[in-house]
């Protein structure tokens, strides 16, 4: 089975459909999402300038494309990139929140991927928890490995991306504990969600490492997460012809 029309596919990994969570929980996550995205709209301005804005657009498109590519993780299960850490390291966490929000909104409204009433939940889990958990782990690792310079940024991003996936899964479990509509033993749910999403996180880490690595290799000056690491290097004169 390799196309997207298998009836069982109602959504993608970590895309919560309508009906999993009760109305109060959905309203609460929608409020969190509105507040988070609102804050991101004002803060992202600091991260975006004429140079980085086009990269931010590209990052959103890449996350959308990569989320279509479910990879098998064994036992008849698949996963796909969440992309929060990848986006945060490349263009900054506030801008990453906006990138993921655009992707999730288009997926829900156009492709019936992720519920409409669950859009706030999905933004909370992927555009807020996924992005910020990954970014904070990345910043922590970068502090430890600062002397190694920009070369280690892709590896640090990969590790942070791995951690971000089970973290987002844990956040879903917490929401389910509060507002899940079907009664499920919480211990079992937590173990299954975190277990499978740790395996999916390995794929997340590898894709993030490769994607961040490709930009670090070509234009390290554009990578938000490498700032400060680059300033320690001597300036070099570039003879660039504007396109």
């Amino acid at each position: 089975m390799c196309n997207k029309h298998v009836p069982v596919r109602k959504g993608s990994d970590m895309h919560v459909p309508d009906g999993f969570l009760d109305a109060p929980t959905s309203v609460a996550t929608a409020a969190v999402a509105v507040a988070g995205v609102g804050l991101a709209l004002s803060r992202a301005r600091r991260e975006l300038d004429d140079r980085t804005a086009p990269l931010a657009g590209l990052v959103a498109v890449f996350v959308f494309a990569a989320q279509m590519l479910n990879f098998p993780v064994g036992a008849g299960t698949s996963g796909h990139l969440l992309g929060g850490t990848l986006a945060a390291v490349l263009v900054g966490p506030w801008t990453a929140t906006l990138c993921l929000t655009v992707v999730l909104a288009v997926q829900a409204l156009l492709f019936a991927d992720g519920g409409i009433t669950a859009l706030g939940t999905n933004i909370t889990l992927m555009a807020l928890v996924g992005v910020w958990a990954g970014w904070l782990v990345f910043v922590g690792l970068r502090r430890v490995a600062r002397s190694a310079g920009p070369k280690v940024v892709p590896a640090l991003a990969g590790v942070a991306a791995l951690v971000s996936v089970p973290t987002a899964a844990l956040a879903f479990t917490a929401l389910y504990a509060v507002g899940g509509r079907a009664p499920i033993p919480l211990g079992e749910l937590t173990a299954a969600m975190v277990g499978w999403h740790t395996v999916i996180g390995i794929g997340e880490g590898v894709i993030t490492l490769l994607a961040v690595g490709s930009i670090i290799a070509t234009r390290p000056d554009l990578v938000h997460g490498a700032r400060g690491l680059l300033s320690a290097r001597p300036l070099q004169i570039r003879t660039e012809v504007p396109a």
């Binding site: 089975m1 390799c2 196309n3 997207k4 029309h5 298998v6 069982v8 109602k10 959504g11 990994d13 970590m14 309508d18 009906g19 999993f20 709209l41 301005r45 975006l48 300038d49 004429d50 140079r51 980085t52 804005a53 086009p54 990269l55 590209l58 959103a60 498109v61 890449f62 959308f64 494309a65 279509m68 590519l69 479910n70 990879f71 098998p72 036992a75 299960t77 698949s78 796909h80 906006l98 909104a105 997926q107 156009l110 492709f111 409409i116 899940g180 509509r181 079907a182 499920i184 079992e188 749910l189 299954a192 969600m193 499978w196 234009r219 554009l222 570039r238 003879t239 660039e240 504007p242």
Partner: protein, 110 residues
């Protein structure tokens, strides 16, 4: 293939190259994506809460579930849906980032 290693690729070229990669992934490679239930679906099926998922409000969208309604060929239908998705996300994301950006650059280049 550029031969000058110290000559960094310009931002517009990088973005265009990246977009080409995205189109290839969304419109072509996506055909081979795994159709297995994903992590959340799998857990929901195993633990028995998959049925609490309601009908999707945009489930009858002509692009629902990454296919174009009326096109029977799975490769064409899914590929076209992926391409449309890339165009829509690009339009919204590039537009939004362009509106939000600070004018000029903090450091030069380009």
């Amino acid at each position: 293939m550029t031969t000058a290693p110290r000559q960094p690729i310009t931002t517009p070229r990088l973005v265009v190259a990246g977009l080409v990669v995205c189109v290839v992934l969304a419109a072509i490679v996506s055909f081979w994506a795994s159709g297995h239930p994903d992590g959340l679906e799998f857990v929901a099926e195993k633990l028995g809460f998959i049925d609490s998922a309601g009908e999707h409000a945009t489930g009858d969208s002509p692009l629902a579930d990454y296919g174009v309604a009326g096109i029977d060929n799975a490769r064409l239908s899914g590929g076209l849906a992926g391409l449309i998705g890339v165009v829509v996300v690009a339009a919204v994301a590039f537009g939004l980032m362009h509106l939000l950006r600070r004018r000029g650059t903090t450091d030069d280049q380009d």
